[in-house]
Amino acid sequence: MIILINFRERCQVHNRIPRLCQLIKHCVFKLLGNLDRTTDDSALWLAYRNGDNEALGMIAERYYGALRRYGMKFLVGESIVEDCIQDLFLDLWQNRERISQTPSVKFYLFKAIRHSILGHLRYQQRFANEESLDWDTSFPDNFNAESLLIEQETLNGLVAQMHAHMEALPKREREALYLRYYENMSVAEISGLMGVNRQSVSNFLQKGITRIRAKWFVTMVLNLFFF
């Protein structure tokens, strides 16, 4: 199969014998199995690197929502985030022969999108750095409490409190919390993504949560006194 893939790569470079190349392409496709929604990331990535446009399309479909959501958190505007994602995938397609296999496609894409949003900020203002990256803490909207087995009023009150505490946290801590608990990333991945060492990511997470918790505790004690 490796040989076939190599052949296939050569076919792409200079398609000398179109019929044979066509045949090899089909063989590789069969060998890799039919790509569908259940194919795992690394198989799709391999297929894409071997020139399978459909595989890259599937990766795009799989991660578009997550990338968009993450990008929007930096508050740079919808159209810019969408442009960044488009450019990212076009670049991936154009450079497919130079891209290597990656242990985590998700991590790769997140890192790339973060980098290109930072690049966009640099383009706008010359002295942009990590700190110029904002982090959105808009109030979580219309959550249905019943679907979480809680009374709506209780949850409304609690979320308002937690939201206020979140807003008081530094931007990078909020980003780390999001990546850890929404995107289920590991500390190692977050540290690679944000370009800080592991220890500081653990500190971010630890401090973020204890700070939310400490403030909540104070509010609770105060409530006990006043009501």
Binding site: G65, R69, E82, D136, H163, H165, N184, V196, N203, W216
Partner: protein, 360 residues
């Protein structure tokens, strides 16, 4: 691994639980039964459960669900058009284009040959600078010191940094921006190549230090309230992040500033030449050589920069150095010593190999 459900005692426990996060995020009917059962079995844990849900919702923030499907579709279409365009270009190359490419290849090979010959005649001095391992796909290089001793990092502009343990540094691969920016987490001793046209900036989480070419130490571990800058030679400007004062604080040789974050304000104090327990040995080393045998000079470099220097002690027995290398970066120090002893050098990671014919 998920803890068994009876072990969920604090909101953190809930947050760490994959099953819980999955439930709050997707609210699938098959998970609902599990959590209903959980709340019935442990009614005393309901308040903590509610807190954890609220915390998680606050971390998730506003949902952006709409539009996503449409955008993905558009992206797919675009990729398809891009693919069709490249396939059109895959036809065999016509003869004249082959010729054009071969001519270009001949030119490149010829230039390369000429270059390598020229390089050999000039010595192999430049070899070491480009050795830093470079991650693909990124314009940044990150170096982290996980060892127990200091680590030498040579920057692309020739400046050097002695990174303390547990610290990391990030810098541009080429450093060809109008400013030389480096980002430091922890502590590092910098010796900066002088270049008035390109200021050198050290960014940390608490303060930024700006210089044109000197040697100084910056210490700012994330999570610590205190940061410190100490100057060995030259002068540097320090700005605390978030301070309203646009006026930077100027520091002169042997001065030191400590910043302490209190109530979100920085309190700074400048102190004179007195040393304290955080002073590192290299800050007090003068690197003044007067007819010093090279072996001794190399020994001093080895101890301060945590590198290994290989040379032929017998051959270079008669070589001595007379120079004051107080604020030269590491590579510059080695270069100057080699210049004085008519030797050449190659840097590979933290090893330097010197080769020279010796001195009369």
């Amino acid at each position: 691994m998920d803890r068994p459900d009876y072990d969920l005692n604090t909101p953190e426990d809930f947050l760490q639980n994959d099953r819980f996060r999955h439930w709050v995020r997707h609210r699938l009917p098959e998970d609902r039964a599990f959590w209903e059962d959980f709340l019935n079995t442990y009614p005393e844990k309901r308040p903590i459960y509610e807190k954890a849900v609220a915390m998680l919702l606050a971390i998730f923030g506003k949902e952006q669900a709409a539009e996503a499907g449409e955008g993905a579709g558009r992206l797919r279409e675009m990729l398809n058009t891009a693919a069709n365009r490249t396939e059109d270009r895959n036809e065999p190359l016509p003869l004249w284009r082959w010729l054009r490419w071969s001519a270009a290849a001949v030119l490149v090979i010829g230039l390369g040959f000429w270059w390598s010959r020229g390089g050999r005649e000039a010595g192999t001095i430049a070899d070491g600078v480009a050795q830093a391992d470079q991650p693909v796909q990124s314009k940044w290089i990150v170096r982290e010191n996980q060892s127990q001793t200091v680590m030498l990092v040579n920057l692309p502009d020739g400046s050097s940094v002695l990174l303390s343990k547990g610290s990391s540094i990030r810098f541009g691969k080429e450093m060809n921006d109008p400013e030389r920016d480096v980002f430091l987490d922890g502590e590092g001793f910098f010796e900066v190549v002088k270049n008035p046209a390109k200021p050198f900036l050290v960014h940390t989480d608490k303060l930024t230090t700006r210089v044109l070419g000197t040697s100084f130490r910056v210490k700012s571990f994330p999570g610590h309230a205190e940061a410190e800058v100490a100057v060995k030679t030259g002068k540097v400007a320090v700005v605390a992040d978030g301070s309203d004062a646009a006026e930077p604080l100027m520091l002169y040789p042997n001065q030191r500033v400590s910043l302490i974050r209190k109530n979100d304000k920085f309190i700074s104090s400048v102190t004179g030449p007195a040393r304290n327990e955080t002073t590192t040995p290299i800050e007090t080393e003068s690197f003044d050589f007067e007819f010093t045998p090279v072996s001794e000079a190399f020994k001093i470099l080895e101890t301060h920069y945590a590198v290994k220097i290989h040379f032929d002690p017998e051959r270079m027995n008669n070589c001595t150095v007379t120079a004051s290398l107080k604020d030269e970066p590491f590579l510059e120090k080695v270069r100057l010593i080699c210049l004085a002893t008519e030797a050449s050098f190659v840097v590979n990671g933290d090893e330097v190999t010197i080769s020279g014919a010796g001195c009369p």
